[in-house]
């Protein structure tokens, strides 16, 4: 039930599998051939904010103020870098979006739904619409690549006949078809992260949130992962990526939201990692 796409067509659906994420970065904005073939209204930025944060503050129970009066809108189809020094509040902002934490004040609205107001029971459904990727991959060591990806569907009541084709398709998208039967420990860091991305994609989400996904990877592999996220974005999926990687951010000239001590210090399309003035 979770696999059946509500909005046609899906990236994990009928599109031909894309391999080897080593090509040059595609031209911005994301109105590529792909997008047109797939018919998803990408690039229609501004019409329809997928994420809205209004005057959001977060104070942890110990009194630590992690976010102060944050205002942020992310239109559907956007690719946003979230930068800032360690402790600036990036992970906290992400936890609010996946409703792992609840804002102390202000509204966090995901696809029109106020996350503070939804019932506890509705939380899993919200999470299925978001793909989440972490620095430490969070793979299950005793399961193969294929099983790790299938796990996300297995635990969300997906009929088993739908699991196999969905997993095979996302593994093709991230280029891991050949490694499907391997355990995470036998993979490189980049392959492990691609497995995690495949798992994030398998529910066919509208939003991918990645919290420092390249934090444990060397520069070349980091580029690979970034290429993959960019291509996923081209297919119409909104991407929010928290990162420390200044080279990547500056080279790509995408939208950059910079946090400093819990405040948005800068929100700039085509921005660099560091302030340029």
């Amino acid at each position: 039930m979770t696999v059946a796409p509500q909005r046609p067509p899906s990236i994990v659906g009928n599109g031909p599998a894309v391999h080897a994420p080593r090509q040059a970065p595609p031209p911005h904005p994301a109105r590529s051939v792909w997008a047109r073939i797939l018919g998803r209204p990408t690039g229609s930025t501004g019409d329809r904010p997928l994420v809205v944060m209004r005057h959001v503050s977060k104070v942890y129970p110990n009194g630590k103020v992690a976010l102060r009066e944050v205002d942020l809108g992310i239109p559907e189809g956007d690719f946003v870098f979230l930068v800032g020094p360690s402790g600036a509040g990036k992970s906290t902002l992400i936890k609010l979006l996946i409703r792992d934490e609840i804002a102390t004040s202000g509204d966090v609205i995901l696809d029109g739904q106020n996350l503070a107001r939804i019932k506890r029971r509705a939380v899993p459904k919200v999470r299925r619409r978001i793909g989440i990727v972490f620095q430490d991959y969070k793979l299950l060591p005793q399961r193969t690549v294929w099983e790790n990806v299938a796990f996300a569907l297995e635990v969300t009541a997906t009929p088993s006949r739908l699991i196999r084709p969905a997993v095979d398709r996302v593994l093709a998208v991230v280029g891991l078809t050949g490694q499907a039967r391997q355990l995470p420990a036998t993979l490189s860091g980049g392959e492990q992260q691609r497995t995690a991305i495949a798992r994030a994609l398998v529910h066919d989400p509208r939003l991918i949130i990645a919290d420092e996904p390249t934090g444990n990877l060397d520069p070349l592999i980091s580029w690979e992962i970034l290429q993959l996220l960019l291509r996923i974005n081209e297919l119409g999926v909104t991407v929010l990526m928290a990162t420390h990687n200044a080279d990547v951010v500056t080279a790509l000239r995408r939208r950059v939201v910079a946090l400093e001590e819990g405040r948005i210090a800068r929100d700039q399309v085509g921005g660099a990692y560091h302030r340029e003035d």
Binding site: P124, K125, L140, A152, V155, H203
Partner: protein, 295 residues
Amino acid sequence: MIGFIAFSVRRAWQGFWRNAVMSFAATATMILMLLLLSGFWVLQSGLNATLQFVEQKVEVVADVRGSASLDQVNALAAEVRALPEVASVEFVDPEAALARFRARLAEQGREDITQYLDRNPLQGSLEVKLRDAAVFGTVVDVLRNRTDVVSGVKEIQKLVDDVLAITGVLRTAGVIVILLVGLTVLFIIVNTIRLAVVARAEEIEIMRLVGASDGFIRWPFVFEGALVGLIGAGVTLGLLALVAPSLGRLMFDVFTVLPLEFGTLARDLAILVLGAGLGLGVFGSWVSVRSYLIR
């Protein structure tokens, strides 16, 4: 739905063996508790049966051997009747005893289980009523000395007093002991399952992140608790089945619970043990996963 149950059962099974030591500790404690529970329950049933028997208001009863001849019995009856403190003596032969037992079953609205028997399992007995219920020493002595005719003597008045005293003590002591042991078992099961939950904290975190609903997180652990309960109940019933023959004889001798009644008693006991084991296991694990669900 079937996928969900299969998923939960598979993970419960894996979980049970992954924490084998704690699982066995929990199961062993469960068995101990269930055995205690069974013991108290059997005692209680025995005492109730005795009280019922006592209500017949006969003061001394002598079981008559099947080997004794009618002449011998009548002679003994005459001898006892001649004693000054005796009001009346009646010989209830095995047929009459069976008829009386049937009447008692009918009175209680229960099925006549005696129809399944190929022979009468009951003994005849001499029932003595006394003028003064307090004086039965001589009667008992006389009856007891005739071992060729009499296989056992029950002093009812004394029995009534004893039974009432014991029942009172047992009721309170039993409830207290079972409560204490039950709480211990609950504590151990909660901790076993909690260990299992902690061991899989990472897996649970991933489940929550990919949008698993509470049921997918909770039920594997609940099934794991149920498994501990089921195995505990199974082993307990196995142990009880081993001692059942001697227990049955003991119950008959001490409490006058007939082998027939022992059958229904065993069935009730099986239900009690299974229910208590399963209930404790499920409740214990339900409590221990609560804190790991979505806040």
